[in-house]
Subunit: 331 residues, 4 copies
Amino acid sequence: MQRFALLGAGFIGSVHAKNLAENPNVTFAKVYDVSVERAAAIAELYGAVAVGSVEEALTDVDAVFIASSTDTHAANLKAAVDAGVAALCEKPIDLSLARAREIVAYAESRSARVMVNFNRRFDPDHAELKRIVEEDGVGTVELVQLTSRGPAVPPLEYVKVSGGQMRDQTVHFFDLARWIAGADPVEVFAAGSALADPRLALPEYDDVDTSVCVLKMPDGALVQIDNNRRTGYGYDERIEVLGSTGLVESMRHRARRVTHYTAGQVVESQMYAGWFERMQPTYALALDHFVQLLETGAPIEPSLADGLKAQAIAEAATKSLHTGVSEKIGY
Amino acid sequence: MQRFALLGAGFIGSVHAKNLAENPNVTFAKVYDVSVERAAAIAELYGAVAVGSVEEALTDVDAVFIASSTDTHAANLKAAVDAGVAALCEKPIDLSLARAREIVAYAESRSARVMVNFNRRFDPDHAELKRIVEEDGVGTVELVQLTSRGPAVPPLEYVKVSGGQMRDQTVHFFDLARWIAGADPVEVFAAGSALADPRLALPEYDDVDTSVCVLKMPDGALVQIDNNRRTGYGYDERIEVLGSTGLVESMRHRARRVTHYTAGQVVESQMYAGWFERMQPTYALALDHFVQLLETGAPIEPSLADGLKAQAIAEAATKSLHTGVSEKIGY
Amino acid sequence: MQRFALLGAGFIGSVHAKNLAENPNVTFAKVYDVSVERAAAIAELYGAVAVGSVEEALTDVDAVFIASSTDTHAANLKAAVDAGVAALCEKPIDLSLARAREIVAYAESRSARVMVNFNRRFDPDHAELKRIVEEDGVGTVELVQLTSRGPAVPPLEYVKVSGGQMRDQTVHFFDLARWIAGADPVEVFAAGSALADPRLALPEYDDVDTSVCVLKMPDGALVQIDNNRRTGYGYDERIEVLGSTGLVESMRHRARRVTHYTAGQVVESQMYAGWFERMQPTYALALDHFVQLLETGAPIEPSLADGLKAQAIAEAATKSLHTGVSEKIGY
Amino acid sequence: MQRFALLGAGFIGSVHAKNLAENPNVTFAKVYDVSVERAAAIAELYGAVAVGSVEEALTDVDAVFIASSTDTHAANLKAAVDAGVAALCEKPIDLSLARAREIVAYAESRSARVMVNFNRRFDPDHAELKRIVEEDGVGTVELVQLTSRGPAVPPLEYVKVSGGQMRDQTVHFFDLARWIAGADPVEVFAAGSALADPRLALPEYDDVDTSVCVLKMPDGALVQIDNNRRTGYGYDERIEVLGSTGLVESMRHRARRVTHYTAGQVVESQMYAGWFERMQPTYALALDHFVQLLETGAPIEPSLADGLKAQAIAEAATKSLHTGVSEKIGY
């Protein structure tokens, strides 16, 4: 049984709160948020205690779930390390890669047990794809294709502090690419446009909403990633891995499995409205994985190093968006 | 908020216990089982109180979930009616149709609020199919096909007390047929064989494991149902409704959505292992529906009358299995 | 190289004419039709000779394709037998089962080489399903489901002389059932209604357009067949075979493989407009099969006996439609 | 009726010969090949006349199908222009873009009627996708994905003279990208590796077998193309077009539509063995289209200009493979 504190009671924090409450191996003990009301509401709903500071939250617990705002991740992570508390940390570690490296070095020097919450690794279909690749189901990986297309452009104020599409959306797929291919890409090319919302091209955002990345792996394998912020038809995510002997695909999800045949057309069930509806089950699975690692003492994965590497790729991809050149990735 | 007692802490009772505990509008107050140990274990797990009798269970609660053994359904239902407690009752009401009719008449004379737990009506895909039919998506219903094929023959001791395939398995689909077509069938023809386990043909079981039923609706529409107890490939359920202007299908479920292409074959994810894995989410949805009906005071559906009608069809189908004649159904 | 005559230059005759002309092992020599103009047009189009009588057509050829009107099949077949010419004959042999038996006995007594044109056996998907069943892919066959649903009720004048749905449409699936299961059914139950066109219920037609049949095989295996004359969404045919270890399905065909995702719906390509568009390729394949049998001298299949058996099942099914009893089939 | 000569009686020539013979609006008059035997064999098979020179072939015909070896395309095209004969020409016009431009300028100056045989435009599924895009089914095109993966690396001697993967395989998809998006890309980035056969990286081949291209369209839309020479599971081609309001996909083809369910796996029909099996029907459709254009006098499309533009993109892509930079395309 692991006693948990939760930092952050916003949208994603409340998702984690519910999972902490329902996990049979977790005692959801404390919650902290900059908003006292939000923390109190969550505490009330799940029988946890709302506390007044990060320090209080980190006292007398085994682990902390860091789901506070991005700019506080690094500080909260350091506090957890100092308190000797294991941490499950939302990505990114810090929007600044340099600052992220610092805190990771600090945590590693103290052998802190920290997992970066790359929840997509825990999607059962993606995990099944990974299993097939690992068990040599497709031979040597040669070409990977990852697609993530969101239903709507996020609010501009969010875009402004997000670090841009590479660091905010594509970073998940940089991690998946490394995880699936079992290697670190050496170069990345990125091209992108602001098509869904042309205002993203303004200097104050300097961002894109439709982009394509090409990663080169050390053995010459290639990875394609396309990301988009507005589809018109719901959230669309798929992965395919082509190897030397076969292909495996984690397919688009449709929300239901009903087909309707009428004159002139065959209509299938629509897709999930957004990434959250599609990916929601992965949060409980990721938490469960972390709890298992704590209970067994097994090495933590996805690790802080995994978090750093995905960010390093995002950094190079962001540069490539401007240069039009396939950029070397510096880990 | 509805205070619930649970009667029965066996396999399906423990499923309902979890759903009672997780439903935000339910207080899971009490649990009774003939096995004191089983009741205590469930009580411990979910913070309910284990009680020593049905009477105790029915005191000071709003509703009762009757998940005890089939031969106790009628008595427990009567006790609930007498106690003025609403009931969600597993099917069948009683294996004897005559006895079932008696208790239903009794319950109706006291305006008892009772829902028969035909959980398949709450499967989101089946419900979507029903919605499309109701919203005139296929015109007038003319031909319905229902398939339910189980992975393995149940234990013979279960078969012996089950009432036979028509009353045990097919009865769910008699209910779905009525629900989807919006009418009561007038005749039923059934043919069946003991192919998966030839011992079922012995006089002591007098049962079949592979059967086909054909229902005739009042307006001439036809319903096909095929049921089977052993597939070799997991649980297989599908429905299609052909109407005057179109078709709607609630498709076979595969457990995952991963496709694997290699030399000579394309492999899809396998199906769910059994009916429980496939149908599990419907239990929480059915409970939730019942709770909503209690909270709003809306008419109960599926009602006791629905339960009786499905049983009446099963009765005629069982007769037809022996006569080879399309039998009139006496409601 | 086989020299062929064609009897009948109507719709289906012209389909066969094209296939005769394009088959590399066939010389399309002669064509006869009661309409001199029709015969001449076909002859002109494909470089064959239009002749003035069946006798002329049967002179100096190896084989004849009997695609004339149903009421002439038996006489033309007899003429072919007498002329020592092999025959590929459209079903049915004769609408009267007694008359069909007579001509078959006559042909068999003279060891005539005659194939009944059950073209669906040559559909590549159905043939693949059959191959999988034969190679023990599903174990012992236990439950077969065959669906054939046509887009529109045929003209009433056609219905009048068709022999009824069992003899006209379902007969194809009686043949497929025997072929797939590798055995002759012993009983058949049929239920049907005139839903698409209620006039079919008038005494002058005494027919149905929506029907369900249940066949019982000697070993207890069951076969479901549903047939319908009007779908609203095109032609719909599928087969599934459930065995003791698995299932194989020959799926619905959609005319294209294009999927269109927009807000709220996912649209697939529509189905083929009619049975002809769906089944057209089978005619050339069936002809090719017959030509191979002629060239190699291998036993003819589907044989006249196959034709008779399918008709015998249709006979019993037609009776069952009226009695509501599962009828024994007399071969 | 169009009288045709065929230049080239090799593999693809013999495919075209059959289509010429079967097209009802074509008289297949003459065939020429550097191999007298090959020409004679084709002539014999289809009732055409084998001639001894290109000049003879071009006399007294309406049109010529240029299916000779790539290095003779330009000369044969010039001969056709000089003879005033319409031409359907296999791609590429010439491996040298400069030489191709010369001959195109010559042909255009004489208003020659020439179609470049980009047969994939005539695939019924791709054409349906194009129709949906054109009829505003997905809004403004923003992201296109084209996949073509071949079953096996071609013989090295073929690779040596092919011009490389961009000019040989990807060029088809450069054309499709222009056709679907309705615009000319301005930049192309390409990355590639020799993974299927590492010998392709030797200086004498200087080629890749696994590659990814990213095209930038004038309005910022992006096109991804991935091409591969060896899959292990057959030929794999698909297209998807994401627009501002939806997505349309021309899906992977499986050779059959049979599904086989057994313990632990669901097996679908395999894919077509190679590109030819998948694409074969497009050749007759492309020929038919050309014949219609000749009969109606409508403008020719895909035109010589289309052929040149696809080659220009291939040129820039080949350069990008070496520079790692997104290269401007010079038309």
